[in-house]
């Protein structure tokens, strides 16, 4: 970032925070963060669950997402349709409903009752629909002539994908994948639906125990921002670098 841009952004951020604090103070609400501090261990556990669930779900989403993308890019109509169906169902229903069905409907069939396991897997399956779309768009953004050149040299379809298409597609997928990681960090809060105590659930519990709902929520909001803002700064950086590299040929 240029120094001037950095300065403007920092100034606006500070001003916004100051305005927010001023508004709270003017409301004559008497803040008391002491009870929330007492619950720091609970917040800490929530943080670990949020981080763990997000990371594992992201990894599952990556793996399943590649599968979804390959299904949707298949030459066979039936296979393609299977991929379409998956994406439609996942994107057409709220995650809250999906995770409830997964925990109370599907998990018992598989004799699973570990909330974390079921919850993160459901979150990963959810992410896969969106990540599959990111992969598909990335793969389709690679010029057809690239595959033709690869195949004309005698590379198999798999070799062409792996050595020619994926390396080019991956670069373009990094920014949207970072966005997906941010979305997942927040989406993981819905795991409270099956009783998993991640950050949001921890905050709700603190609020319920101490009647300091507002303080408990402000704390957890700050925690989310601490996780997501660096990611989004990173995404923006990568995006800018990518644009530059596609213009001038500097390679990532």
């Amino acid at each position: 970032m240029k120094p001037r841009e950095l300065l403007v952004r920092a100034a606006i951020t500070v001003a916004a925070v100051a305005a927010f604090v001023a508004a709270l103070l003017l409301s004559r609400y008497r803040f008391d963060f002491e009870p929330t501090w007492r619950y720091r261990a609970l917040y800490g556990k929530g943080l670990l669950v949020t981080l763990g669930a997000t990371a594992v779900a992201f990894a599952i989403g990556m793996a399943l997402g590649v599968g979804v993308a390959l299904l949707r890019l298949s030459r066979r109509l039936a296979v393609r349709h299977l991929g379409d169906l998956y994406v439609e169902v996942i994107r057409g229903t709220p995650f809250l409903v999906q995770v409830t069905i997964a925990y109370f409907g599907i998990a018992p069939l598989l004799r699973l009752n570990d909330k974390f396991l079921v919850g993160t897997f459901a979150l990963g399956a959810f992410a896969a629909a969106y990540m599959g779309e990111i992969f598909r768009a990335g793969i389709e953004s690679v010029d057809r002539g690239q595959v033709e050149a690869a195949r004309s040299l005698g590379l198999s379809r798999a070799q062409s994908l792996r050595h020619v298409v994926f390396p080019q597609a991956f670069k373009r997928m990094i920014p949207p994948l970072t966005g997906e990681l941010i979305a997942l960090t927040k989406e993981s809060s819905l795991l409270f639906a099956i009783g998993l105590v991640e950050m949001t659930a921890a905050a709700r519990q603190v609020g319920a125990d101490t009647y300091k709902y507002l303080e408990a929520s402000i704390v957890v909001a700050a925690m989310y921002l601490t996780l997501t803002v660096p990611l989004s700064l990173l995404a923006r950086r990568l995006e800018r670098r990518l644009k530059r590299s596609e213009r001038t040929g500097v390679h990532l």
């Binding site: 690869a150 195949r151 040299l153 005698g154 050595h163 670069k171």
Partner: protein, 246 residues
């Protein structure tokens, strides 16, 4: 008594290819012998690219067949990858792999398919006059240099024939010469070549045979002198007077 003529290296028999209502190729018969240089000419949309792409199994004929060294070129056969490697394809827009260096582009297929090292790829870059550009990415190369890397890449699998689809028509005029020079060298070395090109000078000088196509059909074929000096068909005359005037 003379020996029977050797069977053609590339043979198209009754090849037809349609795209919806457009007939890109209609019952094409064409044979190219080993060491022969055949230049395809014809107006835009006459089917030159489609013909070349059928030889490389990038297009599949709706009817007829393409034979390479007696083997049927068919995208559905199991060993199609091996058969594809027997022809080297050079594209109008180079289609270099942007994430690989010049050397990486040339060395990729021999490494993946045959487990070979870089030595031959380096030698090929030298052969097209780009030994010093081995570690440069395509973005940093001029159009002419890109196309020469692409030719080196197409040679890397030691093909029995080379297919060129208007290799100079995306180039700035001052770069056409360097690419044609490489192609001329290849022809001189006895490479079998099937070339779609608007470079009439090149065709006249290098081609053993010129094939004029129009509307998906071969209208006439003959030596460069026959086709350029004494075209028999009106369509050929009309086309030639247009391109030679330009």
């Amino acid at each position: 008594m003379t020996l029977p003529p050797a069977p053609p290296l590339i043979a198209l028999r009754g090849v037809t290819r349609r795209f919806g209502t457009v007939t890109a190729l209609e019952e094409i018969d064409l044979a190219v012998s080993k060491g022969e240089v055949v230049v395809l000419i014809g107006p835009s949309g006459s089917g030159k690219s489609t013909l070349l792409r059928c030889v490389n199994a990038l297009e599949r004929p709706d009817a007829g067949e393409v034979l390479l060294g007696g083997e049927r070129v068919d995208a559905a056969r199991k060993d199609i990858d091996r058969l594809r490697a027997e022809t080297g394809m050079v594209f109008q827009h180079f289609n270099l792999f942007p994430h690989l260096t010049a050397l990486g582009n040339v060395a990729l297929a021999p490494r993946l398919v045959r487990g070979q090292g870089d030595a031959k790829a380096r030698a090929l870059l030298g052969r097209v006059g780009l030994a010093d550009k081995a570690d440069v990415y395509p973005d940093m190369l001029s159009g002419g240099q890109k196309q020469r890397v692409a030719i080196a890449r197409a040679l890397a699998m030691e093909p029995v024939a080379m297919l060129f689809d208007e290799p100079t028509s995306a180039l700035d005029p001052e770069m056409v010469g360097e690419v044609l020079a490489v192609m001329r060298d290849l022809a001189r070395d006895g490479m079998t070549m099937l070339v779609a090109s608007h470079e009439m000078g090149f065709a006249r000088e290098v081609a053993h045979r010129v094939v004029f196509m129009d509307g998906g059909r071969i209208v006439e074929t003959g030596t460069p002198v026959e086709v350029f000096e004494r075209p028999r068909h009106d369509r050929t005359k009309a086309f030639l007077s247009k391109v030679l005037r330009a």
